[in-house]
């Protein structure tokens, strides 16, 4: 259809009829629908005066899709958008690049002696994950709601038959998958290099580390999206996310160290306080599950191993789960309370 057709029906008479006369081009009326579905009668349309066009586009009944379906729809869109975004490419490249560097440095350091154990390689990977993954997940989450809100997209999206929880969770799931891809690719490259250079880090340990990294990413994404749902502007949200990242990565540790030395905290107090930080939970869980046990971490780690032993897994899992669920739940609440625009 070209614009000329529209113009043909466009010259409205300035006449005097009570309801404006509408001239619908014949081509519009007769167009057959590719849907080929019969339209359901709608409550608001008892008169049956719809055009064939209306009938054909009609959905079956007027029941909105279920929650799971909407979450998946939004998630799919978010994922597609994320993997096309610059940040995704940037983080994946940075992650894989730094991982490569660490792997090669480890390879040259061990001189290909091929000794299998927990070592600087694993430590380096843990360090890398601790730096990159929270930053990535926090900023990805921080952009999710606030930038849409700022650009009016959120309002448009919410004007559709979806609930706010669905949009929120959908975005969460979509971004989670994007982060999953990023982490898998980054650590996959590391593992590939390690395999190629013949450093025997155990494959199970790498997979486990990957899983834990994803867990950490889920928690940080949850926090990032909470920040986003509370922020009016995307720039503020991202700024806050970076601040939170700095706090979790450096400030809280340094604070805890200084506090522990100044206040002469007991070992168990130090251990439990450190567990407040999800990065520490990740780190300790990785160490705990890797070759080395937690006693690598000195007296506090020894205390943890001796006091809780196998229960540590449950403690760490609870810590990580809390960081996923609590901010997510608060975020959904905030989303449901606040105006869309």
């Amino acid at each position: 259809m070209n614009l000329a057709t529209f113009r043909a029906g466009c010259d409205l008479d300035t006449g005097t009829s009570e309801t404006p006369t509408v001239i619908v081009p014949q081509s519009l009326r007769d167009a057959t629908s590719p849907l080929g579905k019969g339209g359901g009668q709608t409550p608001g349309n008892a008169s049956g005066k719809r055009s064939s066009y209306d009938m054909e586009l009609c959905a079956s009944g007027h029941l909105p899709p279920g929650m799971a379906r909407n979450v998946l729809t939004v998630a799919g869109r978010e994922l597609r958008d994320a993997v096309r975004a610059k940040w995704f490419l940037l983080y994946t490249l940075a992650f894989a690049g730094l991982g490569l560097a660490i792997s090669f440095v480890s390879a040259s350091a061990t001189g290909g002696s091929g000794l299998a154990s927990f070592g600087r390689t694993t430590a380096g990977m843990i360090n890398l994950v601790l730096l990159v993954v929270p930053l990535m997940a926090l900023t990805a989450g921080a952009g999710a709601i606030a930038s849409d809100r700022e650009r009016g997209m959120l309002q448009y999206l919410l004007a559709q038959p979806v609930s706010r929880s669905e949009v929120y969770l959908g975005k969460y799931v979509g971004l989670a998958f994007a982060l999953l891809a990023c982490i898998f690719l980054g650590l996959g490259v590391c593992a590939g290099v390690l395999a190629w250079t013949g450093i025997g880090t155990k494959p199970g340990a790498v997979l486990w580390l990957t899983g834990l990294s994803f867990g950490l990413a889920l928690g940080m994404l949850s926090v990032g999206m909470l920040i986003s749902s509370l922020s009016r502007r995307a720039s503020v949200a991202v700024g806050t996310a970076v601040f939170v990242w700095l706090t979790l990565v450096f400030v809280s540790d340094l604070g805890l160290m200084a506090g522990a030395m100044a206040l002469r905290l007991r070992i168990e107090q130090l251990f439990w306080l450190s567990l407040v930080n999800p990065l520490q939970v990740f780190k300790m869980w990785s160490l705990h599950s890797a070759d080395a046990s937690l006693d690598v971490l000195g007296p506090a780690g020894l205390y943890a191993t001796e006091e809780y032993g196998r229960g540590l897994n449950a403690i760490f899992a609870a810590g990580m789960l809390a960081w996923v669920i609590v901010p997510l739940a608060i975020g959904v609440l905030v989303m449901n309370r606040r105006a869309a625009a």
């Binding site: 000794l115 593992a191 160290m257 000195g298 780690g301």
Partner: protein, 470 residues
């Protein structure tokens, strides 16, 4: 660290005291014991055959389960044919050798008593020149217990302890005042210690030890050769106390991670050489306390691999006069530590032109002679922090650690003193042939893991993109 050390001293001290009280050397024969054994000797089938045998005879025992306690009082060779099982029925010792030159070969011995005070053993040797060969000892409190039995050969036995709490286990192998023995190709597992008391001139070769307390423990035992042994997953690998003239070569000390968790510990030991050992995954690779004890000969550590230990080498301030050359220090979380506030003066990390390989060396080699152009120094702010305040190790492996170390490098004001120097650090690790076979078969699995991760990651991307293009 001091606490742990204290605990060890106390436990070792206790051991010494108990050994001194309870083990009167050759005179070990309590009346009760004798009575039990005598009955067994009289009634059992094997006992009757021994009683009827001549000096120097060889007795072969066919398959079957023999619930007997034996006392061998004449020079015979007792051979168990496959399936010959001596069962102690959960009480007392099983075999006692009271005559010189006895050989026991090919038996399965099982199920001793669990009386720690009586020290129930599978084989107790009270006379010299015994040969104990190719036996399998299962579910025993003490395994092979030599008391004043010189010139014995213990070879190819497999000794498995009882599944008891470590405090209720006995020693898999014990030599008490039994010089010039050869202990080779035995396997010990789930026992307490393999221990040498006042026994000199011993060769310990090719043995394996797993899941015990001390893989090998020397007390006051001189001129001992320890070679080609594999000690894995014990509380401590090799621990030498108050001994002198010890050669430790080509042993594998892997993942010995008990509360002290030394690969090799040396306390007040003199004249020792530690060469070509693979020391990996231990809590502390080598622990030096007051060794070497005199200045007669430097403690020599050459061509060892210290890899992936929490701490490569720990020195107590009392340890002086050690020389490290041509060792590979690979990715130990702390390569070298000094306990307390001591320094490493008096120990050297190079010998002539022979330095060590340090995986954390940051220099380079412009002239291509294989030796780094700069002295290897060890000084990181975080390490000096954890040396002083061990609880801060909790923050290991975090970006915070690196931030602190960065600050330490950037600001000379807070830069700690270097703990030690290696003037001729190697650029490449020393090739040590026997260690190579340890190379993990993990490469294939790791490649698989990599492929899995990459495929899954790429799969998500592909799915995300294809979904869009309706």
């Amino acid at each position: 660290m001091n606490g742990v050390l204290g605990a060890i001293l106390i436990s070792v001290g206790g051991l010494v005291a108990r050994a001194g009280d309870g083990l009167p050397g050759n005179d070990h024969e309590s009346p009760r014991d004798r009575a039990g054994l005598s009955r067994a000797v009289l009634t059992g089938e094997i006992g009757k055959r021994i009683a009827g045998a001549e000096e120097g005879a060889t007795i072969e025992i066919g398959p079957g389960v023999y619930r007997e306690h034996l006392r061998i009082g004449k020079r015979i060779t007792l051979v168990g044919l496959p399936g010959a099982i001596l069962d102690g029925a959960g009480s007392g010792d099983i075999v006692e050798i009271a005559a010189e030159g006895v050989t026991i070969r090919g038996f399965t011995l099982r199920n001793t008593g669990i009386d720690l005070e009586q020290e129930n053993a599978a084989i107790r040797v009270l006379a010299g020149r015994a040969t104990i060969e190719d036996n399998v000892l299962e579910d025993v409190l003490f395994g092979i217990d030599l008391r004043g039995a010189p010139d014995c050969i213990i070879r190819g036995n497999r000794i498995g302890g009882k599944a008891l709490d470590i405090a209720r286990r006995g020693d898999g192998l014990r030599l008490w005042r039994s010089d010039r023995g050869i202990i080779e190709y035995n396997t010990l597992h789930d026992g307490r210690d393999a221990i040498l008391w006042y026994s000199s001139g011993i060769t310990v070769r090719g043995n394996r030890s797993e899941n015990c307390r001390y893989g090998l423990h020397l007390m006051f035992s001189d001129e001992v050769v320890i070679e080609d042994n594999t000690l894995t997953g014990n509380s401590v690998g090799i621990y030498l106390m108050y001994s002198a003239g010890v050669e430790i070569a080509r042993n594998r000390l892997v993942r010995n991670r008990g509360p002290s968790g030394y690969g090799i510990g040396l306390k007040e030991t003199d004249r020792f050489r530690v060469q070509e050992n693979l020391i990996t995954g231990n809590r502390v690779g080598v622990y030096l306390d007051g060794s070497p004890f005199t200045a007669k000969q430097p403690g020599e550590f050459a061509r060892n691999i210290f890899a992936f230990n929490d701490i490569g080498v720990t020195f107590l301030p009392s340890a002086r006069g050690n020389e490290f050359s041509e060792n590979n220090f690979i990715d130990n979380i702390t390569q070298v530590a000094v306990s307390g506030r001591g320094t490493l003066t008096g120990n050297r990390f190079w010998k002539g032109e022979a330095g060590n390989f340090w995986s954390d060396y940051t220099g380079y080699d412009r002239d291509g002679d294989g030796i780094g152009d700069f002295v290897h120094e060890s000084r990181t702010l975080f390490e000096s922090l954890t040396d002083r305040n061990p609880a801060m190790r909790l923050f290991l492996f975090s970006p915070t650690q690196q931030a602190i170390e960065f600050v330490g490098r950037a600001l000379p004001a807070v830069r700690p003193e270097s703990k030690f120097e290696d003037e001729v650090p190697r650029m490449r690790p020393v090739e040590i042939a026997f260690a190579r076979e340890e190379a993990a078969g993990g490469a294939l699995g790791l490649g698989g893991a990599a492929a899995l991760l990459l495929t899954a990651g790429a799969g998500v991307l592909v799915a995300a993109r294809r979904d869009g293009g309706t």
